[in-house]
Amino acid sequence: MHTRYAAIWFPYLIADRMARRRPELYGKPFVLAAPEQGRMKVTAVSAAARAEGIAPGRVVADCRAILPELRVFDDRPEQAGKLLYALAEWGLRYTPVAAVDPPDGLLLDISGCPHLWGGEQLYLEALTGELEGYGYHVRAAIADTMATAWAVSRYGQQRATIVPPDEQAAALHPLPPAALRLEPATRERLEKLGFYRIGRFIHLPRPALRRRFGEALLRRMDLALGHTPGVIRPIEPAAPHTERLPCLESIRTATGIEIALQRLLEALHRRLEREGKGLRSGIFKGHRVDGQIRQIAVATTRPSRNVAHLFKLFALQISRLEPDLGFELFTLEAPVVEALPPGQETLWEMSSHRDSAIAELLDRIAGKIGPQAIRRYLPDEHYWPERSYKVAASLQEQPAAAWPDHRRPLHLLPRPERIRVAAPIPDYPPMLFVYKGKIHKVSKADGPERIEQEWWIETGQQRDYYIVEDETGGRYWLFRSGHYDQQKPEWFLHGFFA
């Protein structure tokens, strides 16, 4: 069977993606630029900018002179690689062997695939059509060798070209020497001697070419013509962590489900241990005889592959699975896994047995009540009381700043509650206040402590806080919202002191 390759070229890869993200840029001239030697240099251009004669490598100031309405965006260099990899993963639906071809292309080994689409013509149309549908400018070619497909896709006359089998030489004839991906020096020498087309030198005696242009040119020609095979390095997408357990007879009892779960966890454990990974979230699915799927999910606070612990987490929810007529297939998926160095389970026992016991307790609570119920707080550098703390992400996270040493109430109301007050003079604490229909006579007070709104986050009135104590000893945190101006200020109760 003939090996066939497809090369896909995205002439405006980064710009097209930008336009995809921000539809208002579609069809507009814009460039992406990055600083280089103290100047902003263009790294990628859109099709409309290219039509105006703006090319990558030029200085942004020059381009602005050509086209004053040109829009310039910052370029992130790592973005192209990621995008290309994602496109290669997308390409896996057309062939099992897809490779990235930096900086802006893809290479697909399509041997034995096009007949599924009804021939190479339809195959290529489907491929390019779909990419164009996403908004990318695409040029593509199919040939017997990777180098020829690459050359034709970049320098061919048409948008999509199919080079018939064994006709690489004919396809290469009209192309310029640059299509062979030569070193700039070799290319220059060829052009100096008048070789503007590959066809002009491809039939020359090999010793003469080697003497004048070096071994690299011959190697490139051999690759293009198929005399030496090229190497493709396909991407390897990560296989999902999934285990399956089909059952001979339908399972209806809780014991049966537990046995299935145990087996699946052990199988997953072997795989996770081999890869040095731990599970962060897991889904246990039961496929019922009547075609329905019932599932339970768990999440852990830190990566774990401890079968007993994970079993306990799932076991809390097994009663939620409705077997009805019985399950005939069980699957266990681990959508989120994280690195967990091997041997950690044994280390736990010695070093931080206490922490792991707490982590497992929290997992159980998260499984029963919900992960959003568990909170650990760290200081956040804001004076506004509601923003003075934040939620910690993990059990290990330590505070980045010291806790403030202001006097604060032990109980803070989720939202301040309006009270009616009798205040003697402006900027004085109230003499009495009415909260929930009860009159509190203020006997002692501290304050005011003015806390301003953080205008860069939220606008609004500032608050003047008072700590007051009533005659029975209850201690409260009151505040007045806003100034004593024309309108009467409002008073609120915000917390209770111990």
Binding site: H353, R354, D355, S356, A357, I358, L361, L362, R364, I365, K368, I369, A373, I374, R375, R376, Y377, L378, P379, P385, S388, Y389, A392, Q398, P399, W403, P404, D405, H406, R407, R408, P409, L410, H411, L412, Y428, P429, M431, V442, S443, K444, A445, D446, I467, V468, E469, E471, T472, G473, G474, R475, G495, F496, F497, A498
Partner: protein, 254 residues
């Protein structure tokens, strides 16, 4: 009980020896009742003084369940302030505390000698879930203390908690806010904390340090009592009874 037999037939009428035997027997009885003398590391070193003397052996019982009853938000805040003071003493050696029910305002805890990031809050309002989380926490020996805030607690549920505590030696505080009935539950102590008007030095204006009336309503093998406590400079101060004399009301505002 592994009591040496010769102790029963001891002939010596020496009162010292007798007292010694009594003490020993007392301790063995306490151990049988599920009360263990806490190790040095788990002492509440927070100046409880006369309050501690009300308990057997003169030690605040850790690794046991304490019950607090409060009515109204002011009392609830005072109760949890007192609890925070106790927790601050317990958590000096490090370790985490599980706080189940409605959470506190974390920045306030530093005043009570607690690093707020050492408290794990489990926020839920359903009594069943609170009870379940408290029990799970009390079974986890890695925690220093567990606090549960709920309204009602049946004797059976409390007994389950007490059994969990006896296994794990975790200290448990149950805070019952506005309970419909103050039924007996299986705890070593029942407390009631009420806020007391604070007093500043030399009658200066302003709100002073937090003060409470601490009532020990029930204590297993101990003597119930009532004290006035102040929390200042990171420890409790038991106030002399004279300090409770009615205050002359002067408006000290501004």
């Amino acid at each position: 009980m592994a009591m040496p037999i010769e102790n029963r037939h001891i002939a010596c009428p020496d009162t010292d020896a007798k007292a010694h035997i009594f003490q020993k027997l007392q301790k063995e009885i306490l151990a049988l009742q599920g009360l263990h003398k806490p190790g040095e590391s788990l002492r509440v070193n927070a100046g409880l003084g006369a309050v501690e003397a009300a308990f057997p052996d003169g030690v605040f019982p850790t690794g046991a369940m304490h019950e607090f009853i409060s009515q109204g938000p002011e009392e609830a805040a005072a109760t949890e302030g007192f609890m925070a003071g106790l927790l601050g003493g317990l958590m000096q050696q490090g370790g985490f505390c599980l706080w189940v029910g409605s959470p506190l305002f974390p920045p306030a805890l530093t005043r009570f000698g607690i690093a707020p990031e050492k408290i794990l809050f489990v926020t839920t309002t359903r009594p069943k879930e609170i009870l379940w989380a408290v029990e799970e926490g009390l079974r986890c020996a890695g925690l220093t203390a567990v606090v549960g805030r709920l309204q009602e607690l049946s004797f059976t549920a409390a007994r389950r908690l007490q059994l969990a505590v006896e296994q794990s030696r975790v200290t448990g505080f149950i805070h019952r806010c506005r309970p419909r009935s103050e039924n007996t539950i299986a705890c070593v102590a029942r407390w009631r904390i009420k806020p007391l008007p604070a007093r500043t030095e030399d009658a200066l204006p302003g709100v002073g340090h937090p003060r409470w009336t601490v009532q020990l309503l029930r204590a297993r093998n101990g003597k119930p009592g009532a004290w006035q406590l102040e929390w200042a400079e990171g420890r409790f101060h038991v106030l002399p009874p004279a300090a409770t004399a009615p205050e002359v009301r002067i408006r000290k505002i501004g």
